[in-house]
């Protein structure tokens, strides 16, 4: 995790060329905005969790399936809903209000994938969609697999 943090820090430092620019940003963004945004993210994220619980209960009671399968179906349902809303153009408008409330649930994963596929659609199937679909979500899969193997080994031997 330290390694990841260091690489992130390096990436960010390259982009901060202007100190003046940062000062202008600091002047324009008020401090009380932060707590308002955090509260909105808490509330909308909580609503997503509540909806997920309702959906899982519905799957378990109506289709009579295993609880672990029901959790997985809910996870996939959110992915499909997220990509459909991104395609329709609704997601970005809601995202500007809710912020992290929609990024942290699996809808955010679908949103980044779909939007990077749609942005480069004009360059063709292979060079456009095929090359760019994993542009942002590739890092999730890469670090997920690398750390997953390490911690999967730890989980087995503990």
């Amino acid at each position: 995790m330290l390694f990841l943090y260091k690489t992130l820090k390096k990436e960010n430092n390259n982009n901060m060329n202007n100190i003046e620019y940062d000062e202008i940003i600091k002047e324009n963004i008020g401090k009380d905005n932060i707590f308002k945004n955090v509260f909105i993210a808490f509330f909308t994220g909580g609503l997503m969790g509540l909806f997920a619980q309702l959906l899982t209960d519905f799957f378990v009671n109506y289709y009579k399936i295993n609880i672990n399968d029901a959790y997985f179906y809910t996870f996939c349902f959110f992915i499909i809903v997220g990509s459909i809303l991104t395609g329709a153009g609704v997601f970005d408008k809601v995202l500007s209000i809710c912020k992290c409330g929609l990024i942290v649930p699996s809808t955010g994963f679908a949103n980044t994938m779909t939007s990077s596929a749609m942005d480069n659609k004009s360059e063709g199937f292979v060079k456009g969609i095929g090359a760019n679909i994993f542009k942002l979500t590739g890092s999730i899969i890469l670090y997920g697999v690398v750390f997953g193997i390490i911690f999967g080994f730890i989980r087995s031997i503990i």
């Binding site: 990841l4 992130l8 960010n12 905005n33 932060i34 955090v38 993210a41 808490f42 994220g45 909580g46 997503m48 969790g49 509540l50 997920a52 619980q53 959906l55 899982t56 997985f72 809910t74 996870f75 996939c76 992915i79 499909i80 990509s83 395609g87 153009g89 992290c100 409330g101 990024i103 942290v104 649930p105 699996s106 955010g108 994963f109 679908a110 980044t112 994938m113 779909t114 596929a117 749609m118 942005d119 659609k121 969609i129 679909i133 942002l136 890092s139 999730i140 670090y143 997920g144 750390f147 997953g148 193997i149 390490i150 911690f151 999967g152 080994f153 730890i154 989980r155 087995s156 503990i158």
Partner: protein, 116 residues
């Protein structure tokens, strides 16, 4: 009662990540990657199973669950096949999520056009 606990846990994760994004210069992509790694860590020490038992779908709805799926698949196959099972089983549970995301985003990208 489970509805309220799901609300609180999922909201708590979202609130903390929003606070981190506001304070540091993380983008949502960085945040998602960090959450998956945290999910792997919690699942590796079997903390995540307890969280799921306690908070229900509130714990499986965030992207942290993706790390949990990766780790459980790998450890299950390790018990069966030994060391090579880690590589066989890493995508066993989480592969479904990845495939669904790929197929749905490909179809959506074919159908819809960008609106400016």
């Amino acid at each position: 009662m489970k509805l309220i606990s799901a609300f609180i846990f999922c909201g708590f994760v979202c609130g903390i990540s929003q606070y981190i994004i506001e304070k540091t210069k993380f983008t949502p992509g960085h945040m998602n990657t960090l959450l998956v790694v945290i999910g792997c860590f919690l699942s590796g020490f079997k903390i995540y199973d307890k969280l799921i038992l306690k908070f229900g779908a509130g714990a499986t709805c965030p992207i942290m669950n993706f790390g949990h799926l990766l780790v459980t698949g790998a450890s299950k196959m390790y018990d069966k096949y030994g060391f090579i099972g880690l590589f066989k089983g890493i995508l066993e549970n989480a592969g479904g999520g990845i495939s669904i995301a790929i197929v749905s985003s490909f179809i959506i990208a074919l159908i819809f056009k960008i609106k400016h």
